[in-house]
């Protein structure tokens, strides 16, 4: 009997078959329900995930704005540089490609190892940077050998460049990668690799110069390979900035400063406050900071004890010395303590309490009125009148003439300096003011500290007959009118005629620097950097002796030109330059003559 006729077996089989079928249908139901969950219920979530899968955003960096001088000379711009990459999938042998490249541009051993290591980690189509910022001639060599060098890719980038190296470096500053805190700045936003201004105009105008980033939406596959560009929004170039500096004068001033280790020349246009020249030495070359590797250069800057990074014109603080005497004289005149006839006798020193206060001229100047005292820079005259004026009145006038202030100009880290008063001393040292300190302050020594720009502003206010001149560094199209400080009119007239005599009359301290082509007026200053001992003072001609550079006096000169209707005001400070008359005044003369010849 081969085939079963057992009905019972068939009914069992039918029942089992039915159960099995039911099981299968229910399983189909389960996967159907699962698919409903994924495809209908959670569909939105997966649609978003799907989109995120595909779309990457690539930032397009903007081109940084240029910086021009007042005559549209480019001071800072961007040059095209080239980066060389290797794409592993396009070369059979990375080592061979590196060897070929190495024959054109040296790739050092450690870089090479890093590249080889990286090439094992990244995906085959990902670019690996081999050389950064190569220039045109190197690029040409690579291009002409491109057939031998497999798998390289050259991309174009921009590098900041400064056309005049050291000339305006302090003012313009330089760019570099942002540090950790700077990355948070709002204008950097989504551009972590952006080079930003780190000093000077570059820093102050970061938001303007940077421009706006663009972006590229790209479709990428699961390996990150770019499939196509979906949309593109180009970046917007940053705004250009034009400064008031006249590069010609700036270069000229730096040339004059070359003879000295450190110093500053500031030249201002009195009528609008424009700073035409603000040179400071020593300076640095921003191009050498930007060009990597810069470690060696950085270290040389940081180790230089003259600190080339310091912008002496606004960050260097110096006792103004005799250039402060105008302020004291004006305070005396407006408070009725002196007039043109008031005379004091200079015997070379006066005593106050148990101390002696010396005039720079050991033998004394004899009888002096205010005009003579300024012209010959008699210290005793100012000792005498300061006793009567008092420090608080002097400091009030000094502030009116722009000293002890930080100006509203877009340059970082201005140093305020000190214009002392009773209140200031109480606050600072919790000590009361000593009368002798008034005397020392009256000749711009002691606590008094100013920066060269402040001295130039002071001189501008005097030269403009008391206009409240404010310095300006960014070129503006509209003219600016400064209001006049009426109460100083009369006093300024007297002071200006005295300043004329300083340069243009014999016995004037700057008479040797007088100019026939560009007559000017001014005031010398020589500020001590240390106390002069009695023994030194008694030794003959101690000022002419060769003293160690660091111990020499600072040389200062402030002045304006032309004498009638002045247009320019200058301040010259030469660190440890000896005396204002011998070192600073000649530089002022050169600057005035050069500027006049430019016929701006």
């Amino acid at each position: 009997m081969f085939y079963s006729e057992d009905k019972k077996q068939y009914s069992v089989l039918n029942r089992r078959t039915f159960l099995l079928y039911l099981l299968k249908v229910s399983f189909f139901g389960i996967v159907g329900w699962r698919l409903y969950d994924i495809q209908i219920k959670d569909s939105q979530k997966y649609k978003t995930l799907s989109k995120n899968n595909q779309i990457d955003i690539e930032i397009i960096y903007p081109i940084r704005g240029k910086i021009y001088d007042t005559n549209n000379k480019v001071l800072a711009s961007n040059i095209k540089v080239f980066d060389v990459y290797i794409i592993p999938e396009n070369t059979e042998n990375i080592n061979k490609t590196l060897n070929e490249l190495n024959q054109i541009i040296n790739i050092n051993f450690s870089d090479r190892r890093k590249i080889l290591e990286l090439s094992k980690k990244v995906k085959k189509f990902q670019k690996i940077k081999v050389l950064e910022n190569i220039n045109w001639s190197q690029l040409e060599k690579i291009e002409s050998n491109k057939l031998n060098i497999e798998g390289i890719f050259i991309s174009q980038d921009y590098m900041r460049t400064y056309q005049f190296d050291n000339t305006v470096s302090h003012l313009i500053g330089y760019t570099n990668k942002p540090n950790r805190e700077e990355v948070e700045l709002p204008f950097i936003s989504n551009m972590p690799n952006l080079e930003i201004g780190k000093d000077g105009i570059e820093k102050s105008f970061n938001p303007n110069l940077i421009g706006k980033s663009g972006q590229r939406e790209i479709e990428v596959n699961s390996y990150g390979r770019v499939i196509r560009e979906i949309s593109r929004q180009d970046s917007q170039k940053g705004n250009d900035i034009q400064v008031t500096i006249d590069l010609r004068i700036q270069e000229y001033a730096l040339n004059l400063l070359k003879e000295h280790k450190a110093g500053s020349v500031v030249l201002m246009d009195i009528n609008n406050g424009n700073i035409l020249c603000m040179a400071s030495t020593p300076s640095y070359n921003p191009n050498k900071i930007i060009k990597k590797p810069n470690k060696e250069y950085w270290n040389s800057i940081l180790e230089n004890e003259l600190s080339p990074l310091t912008y002496r014109s606004i960050q260097g603080l110096y006792a103004p010395g005799s250039t402060f005497k105008m302020v004291v004289a004006i305070a005396g005149i407006i408070h009725g303590i002196i007039d043109t006839n008031t005379k004091h006798f200079c015997s070379g020193k006066i005593g106050l309490g148990d101390r002696l206060y010396h005039c720079w001229k050991n033998n004394g100047h004899g009888s002096m009125n205010v005009s003579d005292a300024i012209k010959e820079s008699c210290d005793v005259f100012f000792y005498e009148i300061s006793k009567k004026i008092g420090i608080d009145k002097i400091s009030k006038v000094a502030e009116d003439f722009g000293l002890g202030k930080i100006y509203d100009i877009p340059l970082p880290n201005q140093k305020k300096g000190i214009i002392p008063s009773r209140e200031w001393k109480k606050k600072k040292y919790d000590e009361s003011w000593y009368p002798g300190e008034t005397l020392i302050s009256a000749i711009g020594q002691g606590f008094v500290l100013t920066n060269p720009l402040q001295l130039a502003v002071m001189t501008s206010i005097i030269a403009s007959n008391g206009k409240n001149v404010k310095p300006n560094i960014i070129k503006k199209n509209n003219d600016i009118e400064f209001n006049k400080l009426e109460k100083y009119q009369n006093a300024i007239k007297i002071i200006k005629s005295s300043m004329f005599k300083v340069v243009n009359e014999s016995k004037g301290t700057a008479y040797n620097s007088r100019s026939t082509s560009a007559p000017f007026a001014g005031k010398t200053g020589t500020s001590q950097v240390r106390r002069i001992t009695v023994a030194e003072r008694e030794s003959e001609d101690f000022r002419k002796k060769e003293v160690e550079w660091k111990k020499r006096d600072h040389a200062l000169f402030v002045g304006y030109m032309p004498v009638e209707n002045p247009k320019y005001a200058v301040s010259v400070v030469i660190e440890h330059g000896g005396s204002g008359a011998s070192t600073a005044a000649p530089i002022a003369k050169e600057i005035f003559q050069f500027t006049k010849n430019l016929e701006i």
């Binding site: 081969f2 085939y3 079963s4 057992d6 019972k8 077996q9 069992v12 089989l13 039918n14 089992r16 078959t17 159960l19 099995l20 079928y21 299968k24 249908v25 399983f27 189909f28 389960i30 996967v31 159907g32 699962r34 698919l35 409903y36 994924i38 495809q39 209908i40 959670d42 569909s43 979530k45 997966y46 649609k47 995930l49 799907s50 899968n53 595909q54 479709e219 990428v220 596959n221 699961s222 390996y223 499939i227």
Partner: protein, 365 residues
């Protein structure tokens, strides 16, 4: 002969062709809108295998019955030779080269298991089924291929062989309590078998338990396939518009994950349509089984239907995250010759069983 051709179950043939065409469309899309390399070969295979299946359908069922054990032994030897090649040759493999074709014996063996079990229960008197000693042979038929596939290691196929065996034994009328007992034995053996799993298989199980934990590693396939399915929504992104596959986010998009590509491009409507087609295909197999007048035909048809069911459920569960990714293709849709050959031949057997369903005498040789 002509009579037989007229009486072929054309619904079954139509369903096979329709599902295969959908597969070809998916493969065309997976290749980025190109017949090469997959769609064209898929269609050629369909054509060849369909004729093979019809030829098989026309053979007298008694020859198939006679050769059932021999087929099984032959395919077991093929499977064994894959093992031996793996041991003595080029390392672990699932493929063997036969007459110039690369064949995966683990796919073919499922069909010969069905044949062998069908014959065994056909030969066994109903009263004998109850006896424990008569469990020995069917379990041997299942265990030998199961063990060979496990050590390949091919977890998915091994699992599907085990499930196939259970379903067929259930259908043949084995007492329910034996299944319950077997179930407990299985549960108790889980810790043991976990220890003997290959590391990558453990990875697959763990990634199934928490795919998001390792989105770029083990869980990657699963997350991406769910994204593909889910982003398809109700109606899909449209033919050739599926970005997941096009952008290569989908792994193995032409084989095990083809269903997700179809789900992305044709949406819930598309996936439901395929599921219903498969349900219909399986239903036809069951219909043939019920109609058959001999146990051989019955078990054969139920076995083929169950085999299809296991493929479909495992594949869809896998890509939709209901079970670990174990590497099971979607029948007739996924690219791959061996599985397609096995499936279409098994359909040929069902066609044959229907044509010979009312045969009164089936002689033992």
């Amino acid at each position: 002969m002509l009579n037989k051709i007229q009486n072929l179950n054309y619904l079954l043939i139509f369903l096979v062709i329709l599902i295969s065409f959908i597969g070809a469309a998916g493969l065309y899309s997976a290749a980025g809108g190109s017949y090469s390399p997959w769609a064209s070969r898929h269609l050629i295979r369909l054509l060849v295998f369909i004729f093979l299946a019809i030829a098989l359908a026309l053979i007298n069922i008694k020859y198939i019955y006679q050769f059932a054990y021999i087929f099984f032994v032959l395919s077991l030897l093929l499977l064994l030779s894959v093992e031996l090649i793996g041991v003595f040759g080029k390392g672990a493999t699932r493929w063997i080269n036969l007459f110039g074709f690369s064949i995966q014996p683990s796919e073919l063996i499922k069909i010969t298991i069905i044949l062998a079990l069908a014959r065994f229960y056909h030969d066994l008197k109903f009263d004998e089924i109850k006896r424990i000693k008569n469990l020995f042979f069917p379990i041997l038929i299942l265990f030998l291929p199961f063990a060979l596939v496990v050590i390949q290691p091919d977890l998915g196929t091994a699992l599907s062989i085990a499930m196939l065996g259970i379903l067929i034994l259930f259908a043949s009328g084995i007492r329910i309590w034996k299944f319950v007992l077997g179930f407990f034995v299985l549960i108790l053996s889980i810790p043991l078998s976990l220890n003997s799993l290959q590391p990558y298989q453990k990875d697959r199980i763990f990634s199934f338990l928490n795919p998001e934990a390792d989105a770029l590693g083990r869980g990657y396939q699963l997350i991406q396939s769910k994204i593909a399915l889910g982003s398809g929504g109700l109606t899909g992104k449209g033919f050739l518009e599926g970005s997941q596959a096009y952008l290569q986010y989908l792994p193995e998009k032409q084989t095990d994950f083809i269903f997700t590509l179809i789900g992305e491009e044709f949406g819930f409507i598309g996936t439901m349509f395929i599921i219903l087609l498969f349900l219909l295909l399986i239903s036809v197999c069951f219909y043939v089984s019920i109609k058959s007048n001999h146990i051989f035909g019955r078990i054969l048809s139920i076995g083929v239907g169950s085999n299809l069911f296991i493929y479909v459920i495992m594949n869809i569960s896998m890509v939709s995250g209901l079970m670990p990714v174990v590497g099971i293709p979607l029948p007739l849709v996924s690219y791959g010759g061996s599985a397609m050959l096995a499936i279409i031949i098994s359909i040929g057997l069902v066609l044959n069983a229907e044509l010979n369903g009312s045969l009164k005498k089936l002689h033992n040789a």
